[in-house]
Subunit: 125 residues, 2 copies
DNA sequence: ATGGGTGCAAAGTGTTTGCAAGTAT
DNA sequence: ATACTTGCAAACACTTTGCACCCAT
């Protein structure tokens, strides 16, 4: 892996993601970071979000429409309110046996699976 | 529900999706339909894909990057090769009890869940 | 005839990238 | 000093939309 620099901007992005517990989108993170450093650019935020998730410092959550980021880095499942867009973490334990099972059935080198529950949250009902 | 018209274009889009067993993207469908009707526009294809999936005639599969469409309309899980982008259906039965469980735990009106396994297919390994 | 559907092109949305200048190491 | 990173803006990829005309019902 290339040597990486711990720039002020990267620290800032990480810090903002970790301060959130609601799975912010890149743009929300950009706006938040922007409150602290009013010069930082969108490109930099996107680049750092990418870098940080590759490094395993944050988790990239693929939600339909917009990608979100999560400060929890263990594998876990998500719950999406299809009305208001809220995303939350689920306590349901990650089932690693499924990956093994699918690997045996298909010959794929299964790395992981992603599960998103979709529904309407209590507030939106 | 509004009355809907069964236009030549809509039939064509449905027909092309049903002829595929490899989860084509909107653009692949557009290109295919285009071979038959060289006047049809992208907008029309997108509009019809949307309409058809709302009607339940086809399934909208949200894959990172591009949305895909599936002629299988029962709930099932998918397997994505993160190298070549191939998507396939899995035989793993849909676990409806999970939806019930999450509903009880969270108070959400859980409608469904989507699971995508990610890995490297035998050819790409 | 009526109003849903079409083709076209323009506009959106979210993200990536080329480049010259800046800065962590 | 080196080369990773930044800010900026332009470019991208994918999708949606406004509009005038068309056609299934």
């Amino acid at each position: 892996m290339k040597p990486q620099r711990n720039t002020r901007q990267r620290q800032l992005v990480l810090q903002v993601v970790q301060a959130h517990h609601d799975h912010p989108s890149a743009d929300q993170i950009y706006l938040d970071v922007r409150k602290i450093d009013e010069k930082i650019s969108r490109g930099t935020v996107y680049r750092n979000l990418h870098q940080l998730s590759v490094n395993g410092d944050i988790l990239h959550v693929r939600i339909p429409g917009v990608d979100r980021y999560d400060c929890r880095i263990d594998l876990h499942y998500h719950l999406l309110c299809t009305r208001c867009g809220a995303v939350s973490d689920l306590e349901l334990p990650y089932d690693a046996r499924l990956d093994e099972k699918i690997k045996e059935e298909t010959g794929y080198e299964v790395e992981r699976h992603r599960t998103i529950f979709e529904g309407i949250c209590p507030e939106c009902q």
